[in-house]
Symmetry: C2
Subunit: 597 residues, 2 copies
């Protein structure tokens, strides 16, 4: 059986002890976002996730979505849960108060999203896609568009999508064929084409669905420079913002997928549908990218979220399931066997799960805080600095956290043994649901290219320095600390090799772009593992300082220290293999002729 | 879309060029097993697998098995395919000619099993389980039992199972509760209890199902020393070997699983059922282990098999799917985009798949040849030597090949991008089907304990020497070879560290068994990667020798060399991380209190 309790203590630890949540409340417009607000909102969200969304997760997977006569039915209970979610104001949390939002920080919103995804990833897809649409319209739409669409999207009576992929193109959006033909109406276009893999493209949770669609104008240049973004609603809006007549948007079917079966993945056919240009003509890719960056951080968090549920479930099972005896002799002579937790290999798996999940959450929390600062600091340079750190770490959070999560959910399943393979126990669903996070919003190989091919060289390495400088400073200062040195020193060594490898790769990549591309995936992983080494050192520092004075919480801090130690000893060494492999260059990857594969 | 063509050229390469299949034909009783026989049987098997079994794989997954009124229905087409399989003599391939078998070598049988699993793993489970039952009765049954049960199991009109697991125990069979009460009839017992996770426990492919059941006699000692093995058929056999009256064996239901959905995984209830003791009273575990060793090698091969299908499918997709442009500039200006294969990261994934799959097959082929020698050589010492090599490498073949296969099938899915997540494209099924291979027949953590806790120390390290000596000799001789040195040298270096780590672990494990157990999984993996380094060097040696004189096959050998180079440069370095992690000892795994997890 899977179990889930929101990790509120860990949120508090990160927000109040490791990273200073007080800094967020100092940002203009976030004055209300105190530690107390965070705690109250998270506790309220935890209740909804644990009591309403989590119980629907396994039955939702078994039932899946159904497609009948152009209509998609979500599984039993989803509509009622969505209404509770909406009425609770959860769709409005981080949105602009001008349009009905609550204006709370991204950091808070992301922890709420983690809880939702831990409890029921499929459910979370529906409001998640809406949030993306809200962001796109909010950043790139004009005032009329904002007034027309945002209030109902933010209060959740309508929902949104992102329509990018077509049968012939996913990653390579330059191949988009959907056409947009201008009409006499001002800013009104006729959209025709087929989009696939549209999450929340059609469903029965909301009155209307507002699609954000990439399409090509008749005179558009070829490739990605000729793509524009359009709002194309399922039902048109009347002048007073109510639901009007049906638009030429039809669901052609839903996909049968490996996982997230309660999330409808739709084929959407646009047939001369009315659409409204968002932002500049041919500026669609840029608009889509601002949405996509937030979405990518969100997907990293989805992975993390499933890892949390897997860890909690596997830990519970390992404490209860009696199987075999400890290698060092019987530990529970009165029981027919010892619990799994006595076995070193089970502990190794659990600690791996924990180190990746808690470390990944800390890394994400750091990035989220920078995201809030990037939006709200008064100083433009400081805003830019934070924005650059977020930009650099976004592909790492997306790819490494989801790769780790797939490892973690699989380890959880492995601890369940044969019982993990059985649907009713819930563990295999976590693996299947998690698997898509490595693929959507840019497959993890694309994230690696984003890091190596775009972020690394941007502004002659300035993004890199946003990470390298503070990390260098911190680890260098701590590595000879008598208590903290055991964490800071290995982290600093791995960091040193990361710097060397970065320089090497930048150099070789200039001469031959294949050199950078062939190393990209391994480089991203090494970078991510070093980043986890940094955050685990920071966690250890706090834990060392607090454990003495912890009232009855020494065990909490001791667990942090033990996990940090495990990370340095058992997981960080992977970087050595990655650096060695990168050092061998692109030739072993490129020499085989295509036809010899 | 998945594609599958039997890798007959690779079989020929391994059998005739790398390992000398002629040696098998020199073994007493295998005189017919010449290279020509191998080639003819494999070509015939390939046809059946490609044309009959593979087309049933995806629909079989979609339909699954159904349980109605105690009866299990396999998916459409399975019964007809099974009849073809049986009539073709495939169930009899490696069985004893005294009871209707064809007496062909294990090596050949295992390659046939690989093809079957590549084409349709679920289908392969049914004859696979029968083969296990045949082996158990053949090795441990008395002559009456053999005459009664073997002919119909071998010709496939009846099928078999292994009934080990119960709700309270899987790995820890000492907890088995199923009871066997002696009756007045000579050797006849009454069996009562519930077994779970019984593959092929009930189905509509054969007239009768012969269960091999672990149960406990009334006076049995507790734990594994008190377990006996029984034949418990669904229908009793009449004196003339026909199907007689129904026995007290009922299917209580089937499991809904992550994968192998066309393989029925049953709850089997024994209610005062007639059973016949096989072998010694309380000797059940030993008997079960002889079956299990072969089964474990078979599971390793199942993983490999799914990796082969994944590789072929991903390669085909990478050559056809047009997406993006090469980092070094447009390669196909006349096409809307370049094929995926131009992208270094796609090549990295494909080469990883290939290196693990072809290398794993070579390792398995080496072990299978030793298995045949262990059974048939005339010299007892040589038989023992080969048997010990097989014993040592069995947990490695089982665990590493299935772990690699899970990586490989996931990489294949990743290359398909979003399309990989869709059921109709078949790639996600390979991942789901593959996942069980890491769990059943002893979870991979148990394999690691078998290696470190049993095999390593056996006969004061004699099993280890069966591997270490020839590998040391070979790599040492080749590492300064001007052409082969680039392969042999890195392999030898990793081998050197394996020897050091082995010594370290043996020493520390004697003082504290947790030290060995905490390192077991990483040690097994490092051992396996070194073993792959050894076989890739042997493959490279052959390829170097043959490429000059290869008539139109230079590309085949060049691909072997490129893959060997890739393995040494990109995959073998993982051993460095594993040795470093092992070197940090058990403390980071053991220090956290159980209740702090």
């Amino acid at each position: 059986m899977t179990v889930y309790r929101a990790p509120l203590r860990d949120y508090k630890f990160l927000l109040e002890e490791v990273f200073d949540v007080g800094e967020i409340a100092k940002l203009p417009g976030y004055e209300e976002a105190t530690a107390e607000t965070f705690a109250a909102v998270l506790a309220e969200g935890a209740k909804l996730c644990e009591e309403v969304l989590f119980p629907l997760n396994l039955p939702g997977d078994a039932e899946g979505c159904r497609f009948e006569n152009g209509v998609v039915r979500t599984p039993k209970g989803f509509k009622e849960a969505y209404d509770l979610f909406r009425q609770g104001g959860w769709t409005a949390l981080a949105a602009d108060p001008h349009y009905g939002g609550q204006g709370l920080p991204a950091t808070l919103n992301f922890f709420v999203s983690e809880m939702v995804a831990s409890a029921n990833l499929s459910f979370g897809m529906y409001p998640g896609l809406t949030a993306g649409a809200v962001e796109a319209i909010h950043q790139h739409g004009d005032e009329v568009q904002k007034k027309t669409w945002l209030p109902k999207l933010i209060d959740g009576t309508w929902s949104g999508t992102m329509c990018l992929t077509e049968p012939q193109c996913g990653t390579d959006l330059g191949q988009v064929k959907t056409r947009a033909v201008p009409t006499d109406g001002d800013g009104v276009y006729r959209i025709t084409g087929t989009k696939i893999f549209i999450s929340a493209g059609e469903h029965d949770l909301t009155d209307n669905i507002v699609h954000l669609v990439l399409a090509r104008l008749p005179d558009a240049p070829s490739g990605t420079r000729g793509i524009s973004l359009f709002i194309v609603p399922k039902f048109l809006a009347t002048d007073d913002g109510a639901r009007g007549p049906r638009n030429g948007v039809r669901c052609g079917g839903i996909e049968h997928k490996m996982g997230i079966k309660a999330s409808a993945t739709c084929v959407i056919n646009f047939d001369d549908a009315q659409g409204y240009l968002v932002g500049e003509k041919n500026g669609g890719m840029r608009a889509m990218f601002t949405m996509m960056n937030a979405a990518r951080l969100g997907v990293g968090l989805q992975g993390l979220a499933l890892g949390e549920t897997a860890y909690q479930s596997a830990r519970t099972y390992a404490l209860e399931r009696l199987q075999g005896r400890s290698p060092t002799g019987v530990k529970f002579p009165d029981k027919p066997a010892d619990p799994l937790i006595v076995h070193p290999d089970i502990r190794r798996m659990l600690l791996t799960m924990r180190a990746y999940t808690e470390g990944g959450r800390a890394l994400a929390a750091w990035v989220m805080q920078a995201e809030d600062k990037a939006h709200r600091l008064t100083d433009a340079d400081e805003r830019a600095a934070n924005d650059e750190l977020v930009g650099l770490l976004t592909p790492i959070v997306k790819a490494m956290l989801t790769d780790n999560a797939f490892l973690v959910t699989n380890l959880g399943m492995q601890i369940f043994g044969g019982h993990g393979y059985i649907h009713d126990n819930g563990m295999e669903q976590l693996v299947r649901d998690c698997r898509i996070t490595q693929i959507y919003e840019g497959a993890n190989g694309i994230q690696a290219l984003d890091l190596v091919g775009r972020k690394m060289g941007q502004h002659t390495g300035r993004l890199l320095r946003r990470f390298f400088h503070p990390v260098d400073q911190y680890l260098r200062a701590k590595m000879s600390d008598p208590a903290l040195g055991e964490f800071a020193l290995p982290a600093y060594r791995a960091f040193g090799r990361l710097q060397q490898t970065t320089a090497l790769l930048a150099q070789k990549g200039l001469v031959n772009p294949d050199e950078a591309a062939a190393a990209a995936a391994e480089y991203l992983r090494a970078f991510g593992l070093v980043a986890l080494g940094y955050v685990w050192t920071r966690i250890a520092e706090v834990a060392l300082a607090k454990r003495g004075m912890a009232n009855g919480e020494a065990a909490f801090y001791d667990a942090k220290l033990a996990t940090a130690r495990f990370y340095m000893a058992k997981l960080l060494p992977e970087t050595g293999a990655l650096f060695a492999s990168i050092g061998s260059g692109a030739k072993p990857v490129m020499e085989l002729a295509a036809e010899a594969f």
